[in-house]
């Protein structure tokens, strides 16, 4: 940190520095004084003997100037001596032309202009007459907006987003004015100590906006205050040690937006990191010149991002180098500067320092720490020298550098003619150092992170038990307490851990495994002992050095379970230990995975192919999570990684039979892991049923379903009550997730009782408060459960889960049907996995007198049957013999009300279908379980299309009439007749009862008569349907109907238009529906 030689300005008093706020011009700086001079400096004139360009403004300037692009605005006074008038104007000049004729006057005040600011389209100024005026520069006819405040204007500052202008006044207030309406948006009161009038001895309260306009920085007493945009709340204080009572006067922000500089009334200059609020540097500005010296303005130098330009009230201006730079860099910079004739961009020269040889730039000490990082630049070394080695500040981006982006200066260089080969070589001699990003750190699931300062921690806390480690180094006590949740498995185990120092552990139902990591100190001691033994004079070949990583296993439910210990080879120490009911697994430094049996037999050893992030195991499976590829970025700056879980199936009996050459991956399978944007993997575990589950750092839990997709079952953000709270996952069952809610910490409390919270799986469906969503949720969960049973090939469970799924489908169907959402109900019906519930649904729709829905469901049933037929026909080579039911079916074939001409068309097709349906084995299973009708009364394929055909046309053909079609077509009277002819033989009371509803008659003539009688016009039916059916918007009301209701419904059906439907109660329909 140093100041350049102080150059003299023309006049005493307040000096205002201005640089191009658009950042276009980086060659010049203007300084406006309170007399009549505007000085134009370039770099040379600031640091060397070169004189600045002096611009005289008649008749007087007012120490207010602003510059944006080609526009320079300044406050000045114009006196007409002839008339004797005096004008207080804001002058506007373009392209640096200060000729009196070229100065425009967009704004005029009654008193002296004290502050001015300009941007691309707006100019705003304040005056001693308490007025703030603003106008649009782009529109020549734009009106001048005026706002009068309560005190003299100290500073006006336009928002970078051109929405607001901040105005500080001597009464200690800052007013935020909306530019569009020019109304006061907000007033910050008493932000700084008020004073009477503007004077050089008073603070100038020069505010500044952050680069993005998010914060407004206001100098105040003892600090610089930052206010958050829109809320206008005080969001941070930039303080300087031992300057609590000193008024800050000037603030300015660097063009990169990272730094905030301020000067105080006692000439202390400070630079902070504007985002982190960290003080980066501070320096006292001193002059030996006579008179009062007070800094009146500071600005970040456009020539160099590490320099400040300082102007004082004692005619002085100088540059303050906040961060030193090495001489060689300066030389290189000078070379480059000479190279950049017209398009020279000094900042880009500095940027290019990253590509230079660094060996000569810094001393060794600075390089030691810096060379291994991507911040390997001179700036990093400079900061290191001044103890600003905060890793967050070391990045080149902090200085406005664009790391990872094409070097602008190199691009400029490449476009220039090659004037000097050496220079070009030096510019391209070394490419930018590749970025190094460390992948997420390895962790152990269900354990408290290791911390040398923590006396107690959980080595493992899972659904089987807990393993606690207690260390008291002072008293030289270290113990491990092993507790099973279920004391009937094993009592508590207490182990002295002082000697071996186990740091890794796992617990399962049958075994407890402890492991220690490698210890260099112990290794040295061992080496020493071994060396002493060898020195005794043996000529034996040197033995392999003994390791210090020890595995200790405690079988708790094993035959003749003896505790055993295994020492791992040196250099391949343990990094994690896992155990399940069948195996103990060790993960080592060399990424080896060593598998042991519970008894201690060494089984497999293989090497994992990637860095191990974490691991878990279940029975004979091992899941290891790793990071795949390098980091990537979405919109956020935080790096993200892709995680992957590799699952090894280590069936002790048959693992070697799983060959990877047989079209599979052998015993290894890989699956990607879902994590939320910007989050990391936090937990991997198997559920009690062996399902793989993961949790990310946002506490979203996903379960790998049998079909292979990850299902979100828990969203931790919904239960977190505090920012510092966290969730510690304990375990997962097939329906529940368990965690410990940690208040104000990341881990469960060691003292006291941790009560796990159990929550049911909750898939984040929309509108969770709706009962419909609840049923949809249930349906989804049941489908997942069924998928699991299918994967496990568990027939018994599959039947149960299928029944549960059917139940969920029926409930949802009933809901939709009662809500008059026939389309949705039909969709639900199509979700049925088997044909079994279809008939129930059809019956239920008929009961609700929903003709169209019943037909649709019947159609779905037919389609399902057909697809089953096709599958069966294609797969079965040996066809079963014809059923007896087919013969009886032929006799009892029901007449069809459908016109005969349709029958003739479908005749051939029907024959074909009958042939297929004859061998429909799957239908046998599904229909045999139907208690609705006895077997011999059923068609062998109730859903076949041929149901519409008439038996009379082709008496010899095996007609397959769908049960749904029968329901639709058979008149009631014929059912009675059929009952007389064919008494029910079933002993099942339900079937007997339902047999009364038997449909079908041998008499076609009768049927025709009945049909004519019963068929009404469609219009009439619809009309009645509308009259009886509830409103579409009406929610279904839970109603429990008894058998009387059913009978009543039947009677109603008989007597009403719906005679072509017969309600056949399905199995436990009422129970399933729950009404």
């Amino acid at each position: 940190m140093s100041f350049t030689n102080i150059k003299d300005l023309e006049n005493l008093g307040i000096q205002k520095i201005c640089i191009d706020s658009s950042g276009t011009d980086k060659e010049f700086v203007y300084v406006c004084d309170s007399e009549n001079k505007v000085l134009k400096f370039d770099k040379a004139s600031l640091v060397s003997e070169k004189k600045p360009t002096i611009i005289e403004i008649s008749d007087a300037t007012t120490s207010s100037i602003a510059w944006h692009g080609d526009k320079i605005c300044f406050g000045y006074r114009k006196v007409d001596f002839l008339v004797g008038s005096e004008q207080q104007l804001v002058g506007l000049v373009k392209k640096g032309n200060f000729d009196a004729d070229e100065i425009a006057g967009p704004l005029e005040f009654q008193m002296e202009v004290t502050a001015v600011d300009v941007n691309e389209e707006t100019v705003v100024a304040g005056s001693s007459d308490y007025a703030v005026k603003c106008t649009n520069l782009k529109d020549p006819d734009a009106e001048i907006k005026t706002r009068s405040l309560d005190a003299e204007i100290l500073c006006v500052k336009l928002d970078p987003r051109n929405e607001y202008v901040a105005v500080s006044t001597v009464d200690g207030n800052v007013t935020i004015i909306n530019i569009d309406s020019f109304s006061v948006d907000h007033t910050l009161t008493n932000v700084f100590p008020k004073f009477e009038s503007i004077d050089v001895s008073r603070a100038r309260i020069q505010m500044s906006w952050s680069k993005d306009g998010k914060w407004l920085f206001i100098p105040s007493e003892g600090c610089v205050k930052s206010f958050l945009r829109r809320r206008w709340e005080e969001s941070g204080l930039y303080r300087l040690k031992n300057h609590e009572n000193v008024n800050f006067s000037i603030t300015t922000t660097s063009q990169c937006g990272k730094y905030l500089a301020a000067s105080s009334m006692d000439n202390q200059i400070a630079i902070w990191d504007s985002e982190e609020l960290d003080l980066l540097t501070s320096q006292q500005f001193k002059r030996n010149a006579p008179g009062t010296t007070i800094i009146t303005d500071i600005e970040f130098s456009p020539f160099s991002t590490r320099q400040l330009i300082i102007a004082d009230s004692n005619k002085g201006i100088c540059m303050f180098t906040a961060f030193e730079e090495s001489a060689s860099t300066d030389i290189a910079e000078e070379k480059k500067h000479s190279l950049d004739v017209e398009d020279s961009d000094d900042d880009s020269i500095i940027l290019n320092r990253t590509s230079r040889k660094k060996e000569n730039l810094f001393d060794d000490e600075a390089m030691d720490d810096d060379e291994e990082t991507r911040m390997s630049s001179d700036i990093g070394a400079i900061k290191k020298q001044y103890n600003f080695d905060n890793p967050d500040i070391g990045a080149l981006e902090e200085f406005g550098f664009n790391v990872g982006q094409p070097d602008t200066h190199q691009m400029i260089q490449s476009n220039l003619p090659s004037t000097s080969t050496d220079l070009m070589q030096s510019a391209f001699s070394e490419p930018a150092a590749p970025r190094k990003m460390v992948i997420p750190e390895r962790f152990i699931c269900n354990s408290t992170p290791a911390d040398s300062e923590v006396a107690q921690r959980f080595l493992k806390y899972n659904r089987f038990g807990t393993i606690r480690s207690y260390v008291n180094e002072v008293q030289k006590i270290s113990t491990i307490d092993i507790e099973f949740h279920d004391k009937s498995i094993h009592g508590d185990i207490h182990i002295d851990n002082f000697e071996i120092n186990y740091e890794l552990a796992d617990i399962s139902m049958k075994v407890v495994a402890l492991a220690s990591v490698e210890n260099r100190k112990k290794e040295k001691e061992l080496d020493k002992i071994e060396d002493d033994v060898e020195d005794l004079g043996t000529n034996e070949p040197p033995k392999e050095k003994k390791g210090t990583s020890i595995l200790h296993v405690i079988p708790v439910q094993a035959f003749d379970g003896q505790r055993w210990t295994m020492t791992l080879p040196r250099g391949d120490g343990c990094i994690d230990v896992l155990c399940s009911n069948t195996q103990v697994v060790i993960l080592t430094k060399k990424r080896n995975i060593r598998v042991f049996t519970i008894g201690g037999i060494q089984r497999q050893i293989f090497t994992h192919f990637a860095p191990i992030l974490t691991a878990t195991c279940f029975d004979d499976r091992i899941a290891i999570a790793s990071v795949v590829g390098s980091e990537f970025y979405e919109q956020k700056k935080t790096p993200q990684w892709r995680f992957e879980i590799c699952e090894y199936s280590m069936d002790q009996k048959s693992w070697y039979k799983k060959s990877r050459t047989q079209g599979t991956t052998g015993a290894v399978s890989r699956v990607d892991v879902p994590v939320e944007t910007g989050e990391q993997l936090d937990w991997v575990a198997y559920s009690s049923q062996g399902k793989l589950a993961v949790m990310d750092s946002a506490y979203n839990v996903h379960v790998l379903s049998a079909p292979g997709f990850w299902v979100p079952i828990f969203q931790g953000s919904t239960v977190l009550r505090g920012v510092s709270d966290s969730l510690f996952p304990v375990g997962l069952t097939d329906k529940e997730f368990r965690y410990i809610y940690c208040r104000g910490s990341r881990t469960p409390v060691m003292n006291g009782v941790n009560a796990p919270t159990t929550v049911a799986w909750k898939v984040p469906f929309c509108q969770p408060e709706s009962l419909r969503t609840d049923m949809e949720h249930t349906l989804f969960i049941k489908e997942l459960a069924l998928a699991d049973t299918i994967l496990e090939k568990n027939g018994r469970c599959s039947t149960t889960e299928t029944a549960a799924l059917n139940s969920a489908i029926v409930k949802l169907f009933a809901w939709f049907a009662k809500a008059n959402s026939d389309g949705l109900a039909a969709e639900v019906a199509s979700l049925a996995a088997t044909i079994k519930p279809i008939q129930m649904l059809c019956n239920y729709a008929s009961k609700l007198k929903k003709v169209a829905l019943a037909e649709k469901v019947a159609e779905i049933g037919r389609q399902m049957t057909e697809s089953n037929d096709d599958r069966t026909g294609g797969e079965d080579e040996i066809r079963p013999t014809k059923r007896i039911a087919l013969a009886t079916r032929k006799v009892r074939k029901a007449p069809s009300p459908v016109p005969e001409d349709q029958d003739s068309e479908d005749g051939g097709e029907r024959n074909q279908e009958d042939i297929h349906s004859r061998y429909n084995t799957s239908l046998d299973v599904s229909m045999s379980s139907q208690p609705v009708q006895s077997l011999e009364r059923l068609a062998k394929n109730p859903f076949a299309k041929g149901a519409e055909g008439s038996s009379e046309k082709e008496p010899g053909t095996q007609t397959s009439l769908s049960i749904f079609d029968q329901l639709e077509t058979v008149p009631v009277d014929q059912r009675k007749r059929a009952r007389e002819v064919e008494p029910t033989v079933s002993s099942n009371p339900t079937a007997r009862k339902q047999a009364k509803l038997k449909f079908g008659s041998n008499s076609a003539d009768e049927h025709k008569k009945k049909f004519e009688k019963t068929t009404k016009s469609v219009a009439e039916i619809e009309k009645e349907n509308e009259a009886e059916s509830p409103s579409c918007v009406e929610k279904p009301v839970k109603k429990r109907f008894s058998i009387e209701n059913v009978k009543g419904a039947r009677q109603k059906v008989k007597s009403s238009y719906c005679t072509n439907f017969i309600f056949v109660p399905g199995p436990h329909m009422e129970e399933l529906v729950g009404f």
Binding site: H485, V753, A755
Partner: protein, 201 residues
């Protein structure tokens, strides 16, 4: 008589806490109901500590069982369980204490019995002139848990100390208010007697 009543009233108030305040209010607003209040008072007198403790024992509390049993315990008052080791479930306090004595569970302290919450209650008690709102059966449950589940309470001594402080504060408030009430009652009685004497005269 006054001294005796004062003594009994105080002893009763210590047992049942804020309910006494209700009785006191009724007496204060209508002195004619003196006899009825005494009947309340007699009823409260029957509520011995054991009985109140017994009633409080039906309060449900979380326990973390150390045993697993898929069959629930079926009782007239309702089912208890099933239990899964390590998974909290709610049981009546009397069951929890029985299980605790057999080392079959850990009792999860109610949230209001955590030290921070007790501090809040104590502060609330100190700030209010009247009696602060306490959880139901506060002292009874605290007493039972401190007695039988000491190892499940974190920083048990501090917890006991805070509970004692709350008790003392309420005791002091009741004592003060009871004395004030009785003195007022005495004045009223004396005034009436005086008035009756005048009327008689």
């Amino acid at each position: 008589m006054c001294s005796v009543m004062n003594k009994q009233l105080l002893s009763c108030s210590l047992k049942i806490g804020k309910q006494v305040a209700v009785v006191k209010a009724s007496v204060a607003t209508d002195g004619v109901d003196q006899q009825m209040d005494f009947s309340f008072y007699d009823w409260f007198k029957k509520l011995e500590l054991q009985l109140i403790g017994f009633l409080a024992g039906n309060t449900l509390i979380d326990v973390i069982p150390s045993v697993s049993d898929t069959r629930p315990i079926r009782l007239i008052s309702g089912d208890i369980g099933p239990f899964e080791a390590g998974v909290p479930c709610k049981v009546p306090i009397w069951t929890a204490i029985l299980m605790k004595r057999k080392h079959n569970c850990h009792i999860v302290m109610p949230k209001w019995m955590e030290l921070e919450e007790l501090k809040k209650l104590l502060a609330s008690e100190a700030e209010n002139d009247g009696l602060a709102e306490l959880p139901d059966h506060f002292f009874e449950i605290c007493h039972m848990l401190v007695r039988d589940a000491t190892d499940d309470i974190y920083d048990v001594e501090a917890v006991k100390s805070h509970i004692q402080d709350i008790y003392d504060k309420r005791d002091a408030k009741l004592r003060t208010s009871a004395i004030a009430f009785l003195s007022q009652l005495l004045e009223t009685t004396a005034a009436r007697a005086e008035a009756n004497g005048r009327t008689g005269n």
